[in-house]
């Protein structure tokens, strides 16, 4: 993601670029803060976490933390924006794969989505557990961003239906919910370091989901 092209500028990348004009170190420190916040929210719950807890975990003064964030809500929002930045990057990568059919794009999307989720279990758990605790406007923004990739998947299903690759009698939205149900429950049961690697899991889920939606 360090080599993300400037053309795909997002609110978070603009924020990062703003920081970068000062020095490389604040950007690294900001990432440490987001990572620490995710860990602590996950371990002891968002409600039971204070900004002081996060400052202690990073080893900086609470006052210094406020150079990077404005509030605890801000910390949570940054964690969730990072997840959406990654989702956005995946979406752009897959959209750019002009040579692929809609089902092949869906396959590529599922693999990337599952690999990201299995390699970022803590942030994904915080995302699903705590996004409802955000302040209303930010919660609405997260919902809006989530809808972008839900619409992307529904769009691919619709295109595949037009080509006769997915049965036309199935509701694209319902199929997308089936698909996301399988994908987004991964963080609840997957444990890293076991016999199934993130790549193997991504492969199993892609096979499951693509075979599941495809017409026989």
């Amino acid at each position: 993601m360090a080599s993300k092209p400037k053309a795909t500028e997002t609110p978070a990348s603009r924020r990062r670029n703003g920081r970068e004009t000062r020095s490389a170190s604040p950007k690294k420190r900001e990432q440490e803060i987001i990572d620490a916040a995710a860990e602590i929210f996950h371990r002891q719950g968002y409600s039971d976490t204070s900004v002081q807890n996060v400052a202690d975990a990073v080893g900086i003064l609470k006052g210094s933390l406020y150079y990077y964030i404005d509030s605890k809500d801000d910390l949570l929002y940054r964690v969730l924006l990072e997840v959406h930045d990654a989702a956005h990057t995946i979406l752009e990568e897959v959209t750019a794969m002009d040579e692929l059919s809609p089902l092949e794009k869906l396959d590529a999307y599922v693999r990337r989505h599952v690999e990201y989720n299995t390699r970022n279990l803590t942030k994904i758990a915080v995302y699903y557990h705590d996004y409802k605790l955000l302040a209303p406007e930010r919660r609405a923004e997260i919902r809006r961003q989530r809808k972008l990739y839900e619409d992307f998947v529904v769009g691919l299903i619709g295109e595949a239906q037009q080509r006769g690759e997915i049965a036309a009698d199935l509701d694209p939205a319902v199929l997308s919910y089936c698909l996301f149900g399988a994908l987004n429950s991964v963080y609840t049961w997957y444990r890293p370091g076991g016999k199934v690697s993130p790549t193997q899991l991504a492969d199993t889920l892609a096979r499951f989901v693509i075979a599941g939606v495809r017409t026989d």
Copy 2:
């Protein structure tokens, strides 16, 4: 389920039968109490619900409620036991279908599971949101009961693998998690009364899941 054979006696059916020796009315009242508890837990949250709230909803004195239950924890446990009683009945029905192949049994299981969940959205939501709030021993009992039907599905997948109907290189447990991910997220997005009926949804999910696990 009213015609459930006596041979399939469960702890809850024994409890109900015990009540039945008094009169039919207490059994009906007990069901009203469980239904009301599920509604209120769902609407205002388990933590913010009192036994008095449930008594008020049913229109009986709190003292009378204690004829049926011992505590708020007991109310939650009864809701979850009802869900597991239904799951157990489905499991027995499908197990008895000797003429079906493992994949056909899995198909029958998915249809019944989804139909039950879509027709009992409130209780299913309480089941997933609140089972962690049960007292430890009861939580362990719910986990044990849940494992029964997870093992049932893993068993069917294993049998289908032996017959070459599911790819042998896939981990049966991982496949079962994919399947349950799709099935058990239904309550989070399905809204009754829309254009997709519970039976249509069960059909879509069965087609999705069976095609998803089946070898091409």
